[in-house]
Protein backbone atom coordinates (compact mmCIF):
# COMPACT_ATOMS: atom_id res chain seq x y z
CA UNK A 1 0.00 0.00 0.00
CA UNK A 2 1.28 3.44 -0.93
CA UNK A 3 0.37 6.60 0.98
CA UNK A 4 -0.97 9.73 -0.66
CA UNK A 5 2.40 11.46 -0.18
CA UNK A 6 4.29 8.57 -1.75
CA UNK A 7 2.00 8.61 -4.77
CA UNK A 8 2.31 12.39 -5.09
CA UNK A 9 6.11 12.06 -5.09
CA UNK A 10 5.90 9.42 -7.82
CA UNK A 11 3.40 11.50 -9.78
CA UNK A 12 5.71 14.54 -9.64
CA UNK A 13 8.54 12.43 -11.05
CA UNK A 14 6.21 11.01 -13.71
CA UNK A 15 5.11 14.50 -14.75
CA UNK A 16 8.71 15.68 -15.05
CA UNK A 17 9.67 12.69 -17.16
CA UNK A 18 6.59 12.91 -19.42
CA UNK A 19 7.20 16.61 -20.05
CA UNK A 20 10.91 16.04 -20.70
CA UNK A 21 10.27 13.25 -23.22
CA UNK A 22 10.44 14.68 -26.76
CA UNK A 23 8.98 11.56 -28.35
CA UNK A 24 5.96 11.62 -26.08
CA UNK A 25 5.45 15.37 -26.53
CA UNK A 26 5.41 14.85 -30.29
CA UNK A 27 3.02 11.89 -30.04
CA UNK A 28 0.59 13.83 -27.85
CA UNK A 29 1.08 17.29 -29.39
CA UNK A 30 -2.58 18.10 -30.01
CA UNK A 31 -4.04 16.32 -27.00
CA UNK A 32 -5.65 18.07 -24.00
CA UNK A 33 -7.41 16.04 -21.32
CA UNK A 34 -8.22 15.87 -17.61
CA UNK A 35 -7.07 12.50 -16.25
CA UNK A 36 -8.05 11.16 -12.85
CA UNK A 37 -6.23 8.34 -11.03
CA UNK A 38 -8.06 6.36 -8.36
CA UNK A 39 -6.28 4.18 -5.79
CA UNK A 40 -8.90 1.52 -5.13
CA UNK A 41 -7.42 0.21 -1.87
CA UNK A 42 -6.87 3.57 -0.13
CA UNK A 43 -9.67 5.54 -1.77
CA UNK A 44 -7.27 8.37 -2.69
CA UNK A 45 -7.71 10.24 -5.99
CA UNK A 46 -5.24 12.28 -8.03
CA UNK A 47 -5.80 14.53 -11.02
CA UNK A 48 -3.54 15.69 -13.82
CA UNK A 49 -4.35 18.20 -16.57
CA UNK A 50 -2.74 17.65 -19.95
CA UNK A 51 -2.68 20.64 -22.30
CA UNK A 52 -1.41 20.12 -25.84
CA UNK A 53 0.62 17.11 -24.76
CA UNK A 54 2.14 18.78 -21.69
CA UNK A 55 1.18 17.89 -18.11
CA UNK A 56 0.26 21.33 -16.83
CA UNK A 57 -1.06 20.52 -13.36
CA UNK A 58 -1.14 17.70 -10.85
CA UNK A 59 -3.00 17.57 -7.59
CA UNK A 60 -4.35 15.31 -4.90
CA UNK A 61 -8.09 14.69 -4.98
CA UNK A 62 -10.70 14.52 -7.73
CA UNK A 63 -10.51 17.91 -9.40
CA UNK A 64 -12.82 18.89 -12.25
CA UNK A 65 -14.61 16.63 -14.71
CA UNK A 66 -12.24 13.85 -15.86
CA UNK A 67 -12.12 12.73 -19.53
CA UNK A 68 -10.35 9.57 -18.42
CA UNK A 69 -10.34 7.61 -15.18
CA UNK A 70 -7.53 5.17 -14.40
CA UNK A 71 -8.08 2.89 -11.42
CA UNK A 72 -5.75 0.41 -9.73
CA UNK A 73 -4.16 -0.40 -6.40
CA UNK A 74 -2.13 2.40 -4.77
CA UNK A 75 0.96 0.21 -5.19
CA UNK A 76 0.38 -0.31 -8.93
CA UNK A 77 -0.29 3.39 -9.54
CA UNK A 78 2.88 4.27 -7.66
CA UNK A 79 4.92 1.72 -9.62
CA UNK A 80 3.41 2.92 -12.88
CA UNK A 81 4.42 6.52 -12.12
CA UNK A 82 7.97 5.42 -11.24
CA UNK A 83 8.10 3.46 -14.52
CA UNK A 84 8.47 0.14 -12.71
CA UNK A 85 5.58 -1.79 -14.20
CA UNK A 86 4.37 -2.62 -17.68
CA UNK A 87 1.00 -0.84 -17.79
CA UNK A 88 -0.22 -2.59 -20.96
CA UNK A 89 0.11 -5.95 -19.23
CA UNK A 90 -1.81 -4.77 -16.14
CA UNK A 91 -4.48 -3.24 -18.34
CA UNK A 92 -4.97 -6.42 -20.37
CA UNK A 93 -5.16 -8.46 -17.17
CA UNK A 94 -7.80 -6.09 -15.85
CA UNK A 95 -5.71 -5.13 -12.80
CA UNK A 96 -5.58 -1.53 -13.97
CA UNK A 97 -8.89 -0.29 -15.33
CA UNK A 98 -9.22 2.64 -17.72
CA UNK A 99 -12.51 4.38 -18.47
CA UNK A 100 -12.55 6.71 -21.44
CA UNK A 101 -12.76 6.72 -25.21
CA UNK A 102 -10.74 4.06 -27.05
CA UNK A 103 -8.54 6.73 -28.62
CA UNK A 104 -7.77 8.37 -25.26
CA UNK A 105 -6.93 4.97 -23.78
CA UNK A 106 -4.30 4.48 -26.50
CA UNK A 107 -2.74 7.83 -25.66
CA UNK A 108 -2.51 7.25 -21.90
CA UNK A 109 -1.10 3.82 -22.68
CA UNK A 110 1.62 5.52 -24.75
CA UNK A 111 2.43 7.84 -21.83
CA UNK A 112 2.71 5.06 -19.28
CA UNK A 113 4.47 2.62 -21.64
CA UNK A 114 7.15 5.07 -22.76
CA UNK A 115 7.96 5.95 -19.15
CA UNK A 116 8.14 2.24 -18.36
CA UNK A 117 10.42 1.45 -21.31
CA UNK A 118 12.74 4.38 -20.81
CA UNK A 119 12.45 4.38 -17.00
Amino acid sequence: MATQDEILDALADYTTRCNANPKLRKMLRSWSRCVQFRALDTGDSFTIEITMGEVTSQSAGAVGQPDLVIAGTSEDLCDMFWGDLNPAQKYLNGEIKVQGSADDVLRVDAMASLIWIEG
Binding site: K23, M27, L28, N86, A88, Q89, Y91, L92, N93, G94, G100, S101, A102, D103, V105, L106, R107, D109, A110, S113, L114, I117
Partner: protein, 461 residues
Protein backbone atom coordinates in the same frame (compact mmCIF):
# COMPACT_ATOMS: atom_id res chain seq x y z
CA UNK B 1 -41.13 -15.39 -64.51
CA UNK B 2 -38.90 -16.09 -61.56
CA UNK B 3 -39.52 -15.87 -57.89
CA UNK B 4 -39.58 -12.47 -56.11
CA UNK B 5 -38.63 -11.33 -52.61
CA UNK B 6 -38.05 -7.88 -51.10
CA UNK B 7 -34.31 -8.33 -50.55
CA UNK B 8 -31.78 -10.95 -51.57
CA UNK B 9 -28.59 -11.35 -49.55
CA UNK B 10 -25.63 -13.05 -51.23
CA UNK B 11 -23.44 -14.95 -48.77
CA UNK B 12 -24.38 -16.61 -45.47
CA UNK B 13 -21.31 -15.68 -43.48
CA UNK B 14 -21.67 -13.51 -40.39
CA UNK B 15 -22.25 -10.36 -42.48
CA UNK B 16 -25.00 -11.86 -44.62
CA UNK B 17 -26.74 -13.65 -41.75
CA UNK B 18 -26.73 -10.50 -39.64
CA UNK B 19 -28.11 -8.42 -42.51
CA UNK B 20 -30.85 -10.99 -43.16
CA UNK B 21 -31.72 -11.17 -39.46
CA UNK B 22 -32.12 -7.39 -39.19
CA UNK B 23 -34.28 -7.34 -42.32
CA UNK B 24 -36.43 -10.28 -41.26
CA UNK B 25 -36.93 -8.75 -37.81
CA UNK B 26 -38.14 -5.56 -39.52
CA UNK B 27 -40.77 -7.60 -41.36
CA UNK B 28 -38.99 -7.63 -44.73
CA UNK B 29 -39.24 -10.67 -47.02
CA UNK B 30 -35.59 -11.73 -47.40
CA UNK B 31 -33.74 -14.64 -49.01
CA UNK B 32 -30.09 -15.54 -48.34
CA UNK B 33 -28.27 -17.42 -51.09
CA UNK B 34 -25.08 -19.24 -50.12
CA UNK B 35 -22.65 -21.10 -52.39
CA UNK B 36 -21.53 -23.63 -49.78
CA UNK B 37 -23.55 -26.40 -48.18
CA UNK B 38 -23.15 -24.69 -44.80
CA UNK B 39 -23.40 -21.21 -43.28
CA UNK B 40 -20.59 -19.32 -41.51
CA UNK B 41 -18.34 -18.43 -44.45
CA UNK B 42 -14.80 -18.03 -43.17
CA UNK B 43 -16.01 -19.39 -39.82
CA UNK B 44 -16.24 -23.17 -40.12
CA UNK B 45 -16.53 -25.65 -37.26
CA UNK B 46 -16.05 -29.37 -37.84
CA UNK B 47 -17.26 -31.58 -35.00
CA UNK B 48 -15.16 -34.71 -34.50
CA UNK B 49 -16.69 -38.11 -33.61
CA UNK B 50 -16.09 -37.56 -29.89
CA UNK B 51 -17.81 -34.15 -30.01
CA UNK B 52 -14.62 -32.04 -30.08
CA UNK B 53 -15.31 -28.90 -32.11
CA UNK B 54 -12.48 -27.94 -34.49
CA UNK B 55 -12.59 -24.36 -35.74
CA UNK B 56 -10.95 -24.37 -39.14
CA UNK B 57 -11.65 -20.66 -39.60
CA UNK B 58 -12.32 -17.62 -37.38
CA UNK B 59 -12.64 -18.74 -33.80
CA UNK B 60 -11.96 -16.06 -31.19
CA UNK B 61 -13.87 -13.24 -29.57
CA UNK B 62 -12.34 -10.36 -27.59
CA UNK B 63 -13.82 -8.22 -24.79
CA UNK B 64 -14.40 -5.15 -26.99
CA UNK B 65 -16.12 -7.18 -29.74
CA UNK B 66 -19.49 -6.35 -28.21
CA UNK B 67 -21.60 -7.11 -31.25
CA UNK B 68 -20.40 -10.70 -31.52
CA UNK B 69 -20.67 -11.15 -27.74
CA UNK B 70 -24.25 -9.83 -27.87
CA UNK B 71 -25.21 -12.25 -30.65
CA UNK B 72 -23.61 -15.12 -28.69
CA UNK B 73 -25.67 -14.19 -25.63
CA UNK B 74 -28.82 -13.84 -27.71
CA UNK B 75 -28.34 -17.24 -29.35
CA UNK B 76 -27.22 -18.94 -26.11
CA UNK B 77 -23.78 -19.93 -27.41
CA UNK B 78 -21.34 -20.01 -24.49
CA UNK B 79 -17.76 -18.79 -24.49
CA UNK B 80 -14.70 -19.77 -22.46
CA UNK B 81 -11.26 -18.24 -21.88
CA UNK B 82 -8.53 -19.20 -24.35
CA UNK B 83 -5.94 -21.28 -22.47
CA UNK B 84 -3.33 -18.67 -21.54
CA UNK B 85 -1.66 -20.05 -18.39
CA UNK B 86 1.98 -21.04 -18.14
CA UNK B 87 4.86 -20.04 -20.33
CA UNK B 88 4.82 -19.05 -23.99
CA UNK B 89 7.82 -20.07 -26.07
CA UNK B 90 9.79 -17.67 -28.25
CA UNK B 91 12.37 -19.19 -30.63
CA UNK B 92 15.37 -16.93 -31.24
CA UNK B 93 18.16 -18.34 -33.43
CA UNK B 94 17.25 -21.91 -32.51
CA UNK B 95 17.04 -21.27 -28.76
CA UNK B 96 13.73 -21.45 -26.88
CA UNK B 97 13.01 -18.59 -24.47
CA UNK B 98 9.94 -18.48 -22.26
CA UNK B 99 7.75 -15.43 -21.67
CA UNK B 100 4.22 -14.45 -20.68
CA UNK B 101 1.93 -11.69 -21.93
CA UNK B 102 1.51 -10.37 -25.46
CA UNK B 103 5.04 -9.12 -26.24
CA UNK B 104 7.79 -11.76 -26.62
CA UNK B 105 10.64 -10.69 -24.35
CA UNK B 106 13.39 -13.25 -25.04
CA UNK B 107 15.60 -10.34 -26.13
CA UNK B 108 14.65 -7.42 -23.82
CA UNK B 109 16.27 -4.78 -26.02
CA UNK B 110 14.28 -5.92 -29.03
CA UNK B 111 11.11 -6.11 -26.92
CA UNK B 112 11.58 -2.46 -25.88
CA UNK B 113 12.14 -1.34 -29.51
CA UNK B 114 9.09 -3.30 -30.51
CA UNK B 115 6.94 -1.68 -27.85
CA UNK B 116 8.05 1.85 -28.78
CA UNK B 117 7.37 1.20 -32.47
CA UNK B 118 3.94 -0.26 -31.60
CA UNK B 119 3.15 2.93 -29.67
CA UNK B 120 4.19 4.99 -32.68
CA UNK B 121 1.89 2.95 -34.89
CA UNK B 122 -0.94 3.32 -32.35
CA UNK B 123 -0.69 7.09 -32.35
CA UNK B 124 -0.36 7.36 -36.13
CA UNK B 125 -3.40 5.09 -36.35
CA UNK B 126 -5.47 7.59 -34.35
CA UNK B 127 -5.06 10.03 -37.25
CA UNK B 128 -6.80 7.63 -39.67
CA UNK B 129 -10.57 8.31 -39.79
CA UNK B 130 -12.29 4.93 -39.51
CA UNK B 131 -15.07 5.78 -41.94
CA UNK B 132 -12.74 7.41 -44.48
CA UNK B 133 -9.06 6.38 -44.18
CA UNK B 134 -8.29 8.24 -47.41
CA UNK B 135 -9.06 11.51 -45.60
CA UNK B 136 -6.18 11.15 -43.12
CA UNK B 137 -3.85 14.16 -43.37
CA UNK B 138 -0.97 11.86 -44.36
CA UNK B 139 -3.09 9.41 -46.39
CA UNK B 140 -1.20 9.82 -49.66
CA UNK B 141 2.19 9.26 -48.03
CA UNK B 142 1.06 6.33 -45.90
CA UNK B 143 -0.83 4.64 -48.75
CA UNK B 144 2.27 4.96 -50.93
CA UNK B 145 4.38 3.21 -48.28
CA UNK B 146 4.38 -0.51 -47.63
CA UNK B 147 4.70 -1.78 -44.08
CA UNK B 148 8.05 -3.24 -45.20
CA UNK B 149 9.45 0.18 -46.16
CA UNK B 150 8.16 1.70 -42.91
CA UNK B 151 9.92 -1.02 -40.90
CA UNK B 152 13.21 -0.41 -42.76
CA UNK B 153 13.00 3.34 -42.20
CA UNK B 154 11.57 3.50 -38.68
CA UNK B 155 12.87 0.50 -36.75
CA UNK B 156 16.60 0.81 -36.11
CA UNK B 157 17.34 -2.56 -34.56
CA UNK B 158 17.42 -5.12 -37.43
CA UNK B 159 16.53 -7.86 -34.95
CA UNK B 160 13.18 -6.16 -34.44
CA UNK B 161 12.40 -6.39 -38.17
CA UNK B 162 11.60 -10.10 -37.97
CA UNK B 163 9.19 -9.36 -35.11
CA UNK B 164 7.31 -6.91 -37.28
CA UNK B 165 7.23 -9.39 -40.14
CA UNK B 166 5.58 -11.80 -37.73
CA UNK B 167 3.04 -9.09 -36.80
CA UNK B 168 2.06 -8.86 -40.49
CA UNK B 169 1.98 -12.64 -40.87
CA UNK B 170 -0.03 -13.27 -37.70
CA UNK B 171 -2.59 -10.48 -38.09
CA UNK B 172 -3.03 -10.31 -41.90
CA UNK B 173 -1.57 -13.69 -43.01
CA UNK B 174 0.52 -11.58 -45.38
CA UNK B 175 4.04 -10.16 -45.62
CA UNK B 176 5.01 -6.58 -44.71
CA UNK B 177 5.58 -5.85 -48.42
CA UNK B 178 1.94 -6.75 -49.19
CA UNK B 179 0.45 -4.15 -46.86
CA UNK B 180 -0.18 -0.48 -47.36
CA UNK B 181 0.93 1.39 -44.23
CA UNK B 182 -2.37 3.29 -44.38
CA UNK B 183 -4.29 0.01 -44.29
CA UNK B 184 -2.21 -1.28 -41.39
CA UNK B 185 -2.91 1.93 -39.45
CA UNK B 186 -6.61 1.78 -40.30
CA UNK B 187 -6.74 -1.80 -39.03
CA UNK B 188 -4.92 -0.92 -35.80
CA UNK B 189 -7.30 1.98 -35.17
CA UNK B 190 -10.28 -0.21 -36.01
CA UNK B 191 -9.17 -2.76 -33.38
CA UNK B 192 -8.44 -0.14 -30.68
CA UNK B 193 -4.67 -0.57 -30.82
CA UNK B 194 -1.86 -2.84 -31.95
CA UNK B 195 -1.63 -4.69 -28.64
CA UNK B 196 -5.27 -5.90 -28.63
CA UNK B 197 -4.67 -7.38 -32.11
CA UNK B 198 -1.90 -9.67 -30.87
CA UNK B 199 -3.05 -10.32 -27.29
CA UNK B 200 -4.67 -13.45 -25.96
CA UNK B 201 -6.01 -12.41 -22.52
CA UNK B 202 -7.81 -9.07 -22.93
CA UNK B 203 -7.23 -8.97 -26.71
CA UNK B 204 -8.68 -10.36 -29.94
CA UNK B 205 -7.78 -13.93 -28.92
CA UNK B 206 -9.37 -13.67 -25.45
CA UNK B 207 -12.20 -16.23 -25.63
CA UNK B 208 -13.51 -19.10 -27.73
CA UNK B 209 -16.93 -20.66 -28.26
CA UNK B 210 -17.73 -23.87 -26.38
CA UNK B 211 -19.45 -25.46 -29.38
CA UNK B 212 -17.23 -23.75 -31.95
CA UNK B 213 -17.43 -20.34 -33.60
CA UNK B 214 -19.92 -21.46 -36.25
CA UNK B 215 -22.47 -21.97 -33.47
CA UNK B 216 -23.74 -18.39 -33.51
CA UNK B 217 -24.03 -18.47 -37.33
CA UNK B 218 -25.91 -21.78 -37.15
CA UNK B 219 -28.33 -20.31 -34.62
CA UNK B 220 -28.95 -17.22 -36.77
CA UNK B 221 -29.53 -19.47 -39.78
CA UNK B 222 -31.92 -21.70 -37.83
CA UNK B 223 -33.96 -18.63 -36.90
CA UNK B 224 -34.06 -17.54 -40.55
CA UNK B 225 -35.19 -21.05 -41.49
CA UNK B 226 -36.13 -21.57 -45.14
CA UNK B 227 -35.02 -18.04 -46.03
CA UNK B 228 -31.46 -19.46 -46.20
CA UNK B 229 -30.71 -21.40 -49.39
CA UNK B 230 -27.52 -23.45 -49.33
CA UNK B 231 -25.47 -24.88 -52.23
CA UNK B 232 -26.66 -22.04 -54.44
CA UNK B 233 -23.58 -20.29 -55.87
CA UNK B 234 -24.49 -16.96 -57.44
CA UNK B 235 -22.91 -16.18 -60.80
CA UNK B 236 -24.78 -13.19 -62.24
CA UNK B 237 -26.59 -10.08 -61.03
CA UNK B 238 -28.60 -7.77 -63.24
CA UNK B 239 -30.47 -4.66 -62.30
CA UNK B 240 -32.92 -2.29 -63.91
CA UNK B 241 -35.03 0.65 -62.79
CA UNK B 242 -37.50 -1.51 -60.87
CA UNK B 243 -35.62 -4.50 -59.61
CA UNK B 244 -32.41 -6.41 -59.15
CA UNK B 245 -32.19 -10.04 -60.23
CA UNK B 246 -29.78 -12.51 -58.65
CA UNK B 247 -29.63 -15.72 -60.69
CA UNK B 248 -33.36 -15.55 -61.45
CA UNK B 249 -34.45 -14.38 -57.99
CA UNK B 250 -35.77 -10.83 -58.27
CA UNK B 251 -35.83 -8.27 -55.45
CA UNK B 252 -36.05 -4.57 -54.69
CA UNK B 253 -32.52 -4.56 -53.30
CA UNK B 254 -29.53 -6.89 -52.96
CA UNK B 255 -26.82 -7.06 -50.30
CA UNK B 256 -23.56 -8.61 -51.47
CA UNK B 257 -21.98 -9.94 -48.27
CA UNK B 258 -18.75 -11.21 -49.85
CA UNK B 259 -15.12 -10.12 -49.69
CA UNK B 260 -14.39 -7.66 -52.53
CA UNK B 261 -12.42 -10.18 -54.58
CA UNK B 262 -15.35 -12.64 -54.59
CA UNK B 263 -17.82 -9.85 -55.37
CA UNK B 264 -15.57 -9.08 -58.34
CA UNK B 265 -16.04 -12.61 -59.67
CA UNK B 266 -19.77 -12.13 -60.24
CA UNK B 267 -21.04 -10.94 -63.61
CA UNK B 268 -22.94 -7.66 -63.38
CA UNK B 269 -25.40 -6.33 -65.94
CA UNK B 270 -24.97 -3.43 -66.41
CA UNK B 271 -21.29 -3.68 -65.50
CA UNK B 272 -20.11 -2.13 -62.23
CA UNK B 273 -18.79 1.43 -62.28
CA UNK B 274 -15.05 1.43 -62.98
CA UNK B 275 -13.98 2.48 -59.47
CA UNK B 276 -15.96 -0.30 -57.82
CA UNK B 277 -14.69 -2.89 -60.31
CA UNK B 278 -11.07 -1.78 -59.95
CA UNK B 279 -11.39 -1.73 -56.16
CA UNK B 280 -12.21 -5.45 -56.31
CA UNK B 281 -8.92 -5.98 -58.16
CA UNK B 282 -6.90 -4.42 -55.32
CA UNK B 283 -8.09 -6.24 -52.20
CA UNK B 284 -6.28 -9.60 -52.20
CA UNK B 285 -6.96 -12.21 -49.52
CA UNK B 286 -4.28 -13.31 -47.07
CA UNK B 287 -2.67 -16.76 -47.35
CA UNK B 288 -3.09 -19.12 -44.42
CA UNK B 289 -3.20 -22.83 -43.71
CA UNK B 290 -4.74 -23.58 -40.32
CA UNK B 291 -3.60 -26.83 -38.76
CA UNK B 292 -4.94 -28.76 -35.78
CA UNK B 293 -3.15 -31.65 -34.11
CA UNK B 294 -5.25 -33.64 -31.64
CA UNK B 295 -3.62 -35.47 -28.70
CA UNK B 296 -5.11 -37.74 -26.01
CA UNK B 297 -4.42 -34.97 -23.46
CA UNK B 298 -3.04 -31.39 -23.31
CA UNK B 299 0.28 -32.77 -22.04
CA UNK B 300 2.17 -29.48 -22.48
CA UNK B 301 0.05 -27.87 -19.74
CA UNK B 302 1.53 -30.21 -17.11
CA UNK B 303 5.01 -29.11 -18.16
CA UNK B 304 4.02 -25.47 -17.56
CA UNK B 305 3.52 -24.44 -21.18
CA UNK B 306 0.63 -22.37 -22.52
CA UNK B 307 0.91 -24.02 -25.94
CA UNK B 308 1.65 -20.62 -27.49
CA UNK B 309 4.69 -20.44 -29.77
CA UNK B 310 6.31 -17.42 -31.39
CA UNK B 311 8.99 -18.02 -34.05
CA UNK B 312 10.62 -16.00 -36.81
CA UNK B 313 11.52 -18.77 -39.22
CA UNK B 314 10.14 -22.11 -40.33
CA UNK B 315 6.55 -22.91 -41.21
CA UNK B 316 5.09 -22.67 -37.68
CA UNK B 317 5.52 -19.13 -36.34
CA UNK B 318 2.32 -18.87 -34.34
CA UNK B 319 0.74 -21.68 -32.29
CA UNK B 320 -1.94 -21.93 -29.61
CA UNK B 321 -3.55 -24.43 -27.28
CA UNK B 322 -6.88 -25.05 -28.98
CA UNK B 323 -8.15 -27.82 -26.70
CA UNK B 324 -11.91 -28.06 -26.12
CA UNK B 325 -13.43 -26.24 -23.14
CA UNK B 326 -13.67 -29.41 -21.01
CA UNK B 327 -10.06 -30.37 -21.82
CA UNK B 328 -11.02 -34.02 -22.49
CA UNK B 329 -8.34 -34.09 -25.17
CA UNK B 330 -5.47 -31.83 -26.16
CA UNK B 331 -5.45 -29.81 -29.37
CA UNK B 332 -2.55 -27.72 -30.66
CA UNK B 333 -3.19 -25.17 -33.37
CA UNK B 334 -0.56 -23.95 -35.84
CA UNK B 335 -0.89 -21.24 -38.43
CA UNK B 336 1.22 -21.30 -41.60
CA UNK B 337 0.90 -17.76 -42.89
CA UNK B 338 2.07 -15.36 -45.60
CA UNK B 339 5.09 -16.57 -47.61
CA UNK B 340 5.24 -19.79 -45.60
CA UNK B 341 1.59 -20.41 -46.47
CA UNK B 342 2.46 -19.96 -50.14
CA UNK B 343 5.49 -22.28 -49.93
CA UNK B 344 3.86 -24.99 -47.83
CA UNK B 345 0.61 -24.78 -49.79
CA UNK B 346 2.50 -26.19 -52.78
CA UNK B 347 3.76 -29.17 -50.77
CA UNK B 348 1.90 -32.30 -49.75
CA UNK B 349 -0.24 -32.84 -46.68
CA UNK B 350 2.31 -35.41 -45.45
CA UNK B 351 5.15 -32.89 -45.72
CA UNK B 352 3.15 -30.29 -43.80
CA UNK B 353 2.18 -32.79 -41.12
CA UNK B 354 5.81 -33.84 -40.61
CA UNK B 355 6.98 -30.21 -40.38
CA UNK B 356 4.27 -29.21 -37.90
CA UNK B 357 4.85 -32.26 -35.68
CA UNK B 358 8.59 -31.50 -35.71
CA UNK B 359 7.87 -27.94 -34.55
CA UNK B 360 5.60 -29.16 -31.74
CA UNK B 361 8.13 -31.80 -30.64
CA UNK B 362 10.92 -29.19 -30.56
CA UNK B 363 8.77 -26.99 -28.33
CA UNK B 364 6.95 -29.49 -26.10
CA UNK B 365 8.93 -32.74 -26.27
CA UNK B 366 8.68 -36.16 -27.89
CA UNK B 367 5.11 -36.76 -26.71
CA UNK B 368 4.11 -34.40 -29.52
CA UNK B 369 5.14 -37.13 -31.99
CA UNK B 370 2.12 -39.26 -31.05
CA UNK B 371 -0.97 -37.40 -32.21
CA UNK B 372 -4.42 -38.94 -32.50
CA UNK B 373 -5.45 -36.77 -35.46
CA UNK B 374 -4.01 -34.25 -37.90
CA UNK B 375 -6.41 -31.80 -39.59
CA UNK B 376 -5.70 -28.91 -41.93
CA UNK B 377 -7.57 -26.28 -43.89
CA UNK B 378 -5.91 -24.25 -46.62
CA UNK B 379 -8.14 -21.23 -47.12
CA UNK B 380 -6.38 -20.14 -50.31
CA UNK B 381 -7.57 -23.43 -51.84
CA UNK B 382 -11.20 -22.70 -51.01
CA UNK B 383 -12.88 -21.20 -54.07
CA UNK B 384 -15.59 -19.53 -51.96
CA UNK B 385 -13.07 -17.65 -49.80
CA UNK B 386 -9.91 -17.55 -51.98
CA UNK B 387 -7.84 -16.95 -48.84
CA UNK B 388 -8.14 -15.71 -45.26
CA UNK B 389 -8.34 -14.02 -42.82
CA UNK B 390 -9.52 -11.04 -44.80
CA UNK B 391 -9.06 -9.00 -47.92
CA UNK B 392 -6.28 -6.50 -47.40
CA UNK B 393 -6.04 -3.13 -49.08
CA UNK B 394 -2.96 -3.06 -51.30
CA UNK B 395 -0.93 0.18 -51.52
CA UNK B 396 -2.98 2.81 -53.33
CA UNK B 397 -6.32 1.04 -52.83
CA UNK B 398 -7.64 3.24 -50.00
CA UNK B 399 -6.63 6.54 -51.57
CA UNK B 400 -7.54 5.53 -55.12
CA UNK B 401 -10.78 3.67 -54.49
CA UNK B 402 -11.81 4.05 -50.81
CA UNK B 403 -15.20 5.70 -51.38
CA UNK B 404 -16.27 2.79 -53.63
CA UNK B 405 -15.98 0.29 -50.77
CA UNK B 406 -19.42 0.90 -49.23
CA UNK B 407 -21.14 3.15 -51.78
CA UNK B 408 -24.23 1.34 -53.14
CA UNK B 409 -24.42 0.72 -56.88
CA UNK B 410 -28.07 1.20 -57.81
CA UNK B 411 -29.96 -1.42 -55.83
CA UNK B 412 -26.83 -3.26 -54.78
CA UNK B 413 -25.44 -2.70 -51.26
CA UNK B 414 -22.12 -4.00 -49.93
CA UNK B 415 -21.40 -5.85 -46.69
CA UNK B 416 -18.59 -8.08 -45.42
CA UNK B 417 -15.93 -7.56 -42.76
CA UNK B 418 -13.75 -5.69 -45.26
CA UNK B 419 -16.37 -2.90 -45.24
CA UNK B 420 -16.42 -2.56 -41.44
CA UNK B 421 -15.10 0.43 -39.50
CA UNK B 422 -14.66 -1.30 -36.14
CA UNK B 423 -12.83 -4.63 -35.89
CA UNK B 424 -12.50 -4.75 -39.68
CA UNK B 425 -11.29 -8.19 -40.76
CA UNK B 426 -12.88 -9.91 -37.75
CA UNK B 427 -16.22 -11.65 -37.15
CA UNK B 428 -17.31 -8.63 -35.15
CA UNK B 429 -16.63 -6.35 -38.13
CA UNK B 430 -18.66 -8.65 -40.37
CA UNK B 431 -21.62 -8.27 -38.00
CA UNK B 432 -21.26 -4.47 -37.98
CA UNK B 433 -21.21 -4.45 -41.79
CA UNK B 434 -24.31 -6.63 -42.06
CA UNK B 435 -26.23 -4.43 -39.67
CA UNK B 436 -25.13 -1.28 -41.52
CA UNK B 437 -26.06 -2.65 -44.97
CA UNK B 438 -29.44 -3.89 -43.71
CA UNK B 439 -30.25 -0.42 -42.36
CA UNK B 440 -29.29 1.17 -45.70
CA UNK B 441 -31.80 -1.15 -47.33
CA UNK B 442 -34.53 -0.49 -44.74
CA UNK B 443 -34.11 3.19 -45.53
CA UNK B 444 -34.37 2.59 -49.30
CA UNK B 445 -37.44 0.37 -48.87
CA UNK B 446 -39.07 3.08 -46.76
CA UNK B 447 -39.66 0.81 -43.78
CA UNK B 448 -40.71 3.12 -40.90
CA UNK B 449 -37.90 3.46 -38.35
CA UNK B 450 -40.14 2.29 -35.49
CA UNK B 451 -40.13 -1.13 -37.23
CA UNK B 452 -36.30 -1.29 -37.29
CA UNK B 453 -34.77 -3.67 -34.74
CA UNK B 454 -32.60 -2.02 -32.08
CA UNK B 455 -28.91 -1.62 -32.91
CA UNK B 456 -26.49 -4.14 -31.45
CA UNK B 457 -24.18 -2.68 -28.77
CA UNK B 458 -21.25 -0.78 -30.24
CA UNK B 459 -17.91 -2.54 -30.27
CA UNK B 460 -14.72 -0.75 -29.30
CA UNK B 461 -13.58 0.34 -25.85
Amino acid sequence: MGEAVDVVVVGAGYAGLTAATVLADAGVDVAVVEARDRVGGRVYTEVLEDGTPIDHGGQWVGPTQKRLLALATRTGVETFATYDAGNNIEWIDGVAHTYSGPIPSGDPEVAADLTVAMLDLNLMALDVPLDAPWEAADAEEWDGTTFASWIRESVENPKAHARFALFAQAVWSAEPRDLSLLHLLFYIHSAGGAVPLVSTTGGAQDRRFVTGAQGVANALAARLGSRVRLSAPVRAISQGAEEVTVDGLSAKAAIIALPPTLAGRLIYDPPLPADRDQLTQRVPMGTVIKIHVVYPSPFWRDAGFSGQITAYDGPVRVAYDNSPADGHCGVLLAFIEGDEGRIWGRRTREEREAAVIDAFAAAFGEEARHPARYLEKSWADDEYSRGCYAGLMAPGAWTGYGPALRRPVGRIHWAGTETATVWAGYIDGAIQSGERAAREVLEVLGVPTDKWPALLPESGA
